[in-house]
Symmetry: C2
Subunit: 355 residues, 2 copies
């Protein structure tokens, strides 16, 4: 039997735990998996592009578990009443191929992205960072603000989105769940960045934009570049990348999809797992400008699936179902039809048979 | 909402229709999709190999639908009480990325493989073919025997499997559902092949085997080579391939996975869709030896998913569920947590908050 978690199930698991425990646990699982990076079989995701969006499959495996995520990106979806990003995935047993869990990953994608951003900022931002600019106040913005508040101690977020309603919704949510987190609405990205220690960019347009220009840089800033995650979709002036030390999840994928797609192939980038394992250093001095060119890697979803499997079993949430057949005799697949046919009538009525 | 079909649901759909209607409809959908081959975005499947098996993702898309299958191949599974091959997949809307259907594809994989085999034999085997050898009597053997009986008029199957119990199970099933189909058990593959018009090989061992040697060839035979579908897993002596005209589903994939992996890259193969669209000819004369080097291509699963979506809606079978979130405001993903949190307690209890 395979456990199925709907979006409602996942929301129940997270709500029952609370956001602090959720982010703490999820960040711990992601960090532990990133630290054993060489144990994973990795591949850049497989994308199918259309004129209005992209659909991707993101598989990854270690010696015992195989995970994959299905995820789309359709910036025009909200106008149709659908989320821009929707995702689900599965975790399977490498030894048998049995799918153990199928789960909504829409909420988990927002949670794991924010947890990974905060993990990276822990080793890349100045330790005394307290103020964060958040440019792009869409569906993932609450998760970023709260992950940085809870995991890093950010106590002020400087918000900008051309859609004032989006910013208003974000502020209402922050008031409701995190009254100690100050927030203010800025009139432009530039105003949001002024004085911020950390800058998170989280815009959804599928084209080359310049949210961050060199004139906005301040010494010691850490950039958490989340929105640029597709070929042709970027948020930074390439001059910013030349000024910053650039960190990525998985170089082979980020060079295609991230801000780094704007840079020549020899441009140096450092994979985050190397910093987490102390193979290389993170921030080197107070004034260094660091940039986490985050595109979202399959391993983060693998961690989220493993965490969901554990949390769902622990909380007794979800539905056990025969997504694949349960057979008394594993070589007797046809028996499934016999059993169903006994109720429905003969599988091959006499008049249907060949003479 | 996404429709979910469990293995039991799929079996109910097939049993209610009966096998003739199932094979007729499925073959028609697969043929129609193969005939519009250039409309699909195709890619070789993405495989993850371990020492005991393989797990694969198989995506394909046209301008309106995106489909993928998850499938494993673990020859040691039956000893653990699990099927060798298990599969599930999803069909999504290209315009929005919304997953419309998630379904067991274990049964559908057996059905679509058999339907595709029969489709190929219609244009490649001699029109008066009546006898088929079936070497390998495992989980998929009933489906192959019945598809050839129902779609092609095969009235005799010559069976061989080193596991006599597997052959006995197959014969029992054929007696139960297709009494007009004669069957006999042979003592070897060679005996099964003797006098057969069509030869279907369907063995599961993950290594290079020689089920079919040049000495067994007879003029005009059609080979339906189904078992060799992985790098390192073949069933034919390469000399047989040199003697036969070889047809494949998708050349880029078959050259890696099929019997054709044994041949040099320039060795000529013809894609089946070209025969179905009359771009090239199938069988050229009575004595020609033809070989369908079938490995299973994503498009066949796409067709099966489309057929299942239609058949499930038609029969009112399946479960509508929120595999991805249903949001009043598509930009308000956090609202899911608020709604769940209202029941579970505050998302961020006061004592958890940062000061």
């Amino acid at each position: 039997m395979t456990r199925l978690l709907t979006a409602t199930d996942v929301a129940r698991i997270v709500a029952a735990k609370g956001l602090r425990a959720t982010f703490d646990e999820l960040a711990a699982v992601i960090e532990a998996d990133l630290r054993r990076w060489p144990q994973f079989e990795k591949t850049a995701r497989l994308a199918s592009h259309s004129s209005v969006g992209v659909i991707e499959l993101m598989p990854v495996a270690d010696a015992s578990r195989y995970g994959f995520k299905y995820v789309n990106g359709h910036p025009g979806n909200p106008a149709l009443g659908l989320p821009t990003v929707m995702a689900f995935g599965a975790l399977a047993d490498v030894a048998t191929g049995l799918p153990l869990l199928v789960a909504d990953l829409t909420l988990a994608t927002a949670l794991r992205t924010a947890a990974t951003s905060a993990l990276a900022a822990r080793v890349l931002a100045r330790p005394d960072a307290r103020s964060m600019a958040l440019v792009g106040n869409g569906a993932q913005s609450e998760f970023q603000a709260l992950a940085f508040h809870l995991l890093l101690g950010i106590d002020e977020v400087r918000l900008y989105d051309p859609d004032a309603l989006a910013t208003a919704r974000l502020r209402r949510h922050l008031d409701a769940v995190a009254p100690a987190l100050r927030h203010l609405r800025c009139a432009s990205a530039q105003e949001a960045l002024a004085g911020a220690d950390i800058v998170t960019t989280l815009t959804a347009d599928k084209h080359r934009a310049t949210i961050v220009a060199p004139s906005m840089l301040e010494p010691g800033m850490h950039f958490n570049a989340v929105g640029g995650d597709c070929p042709g979709k970027t948020e930074f002036d390439p001059a910013v990348l030349r000024t910053a030390r650039v960190f990525v999840e998985y170089e082979a994928q980020t060079r295609i999809e991230g801000e780094s797609q704007q840079m020549p192939s020899g441009y140096p980038v450092t994979e985050l797992w190397q910093v987490l394992t102390h193979t290389t250093c993170g921030r080197q001095h107070r004034d260094e400008i660091t940039l986490f060119d985050s595109v979202g890697f399959a391993l983060e979803d693998f961690s989220a699936l493993a965490w969901l499997a554990w949390a769902a079993a622990d909380a007794g949430v979800g539905h056990e179902l025969d997504l694949i057949p349960t057979l008394d005799d594993p070589k007797n697949l046809f028996g499934l039809l016999e059993a169903a046919g006994a109720a429905a009538g003969p599988l091959l009525p006499r008049h249907q048979e060949r003479k």
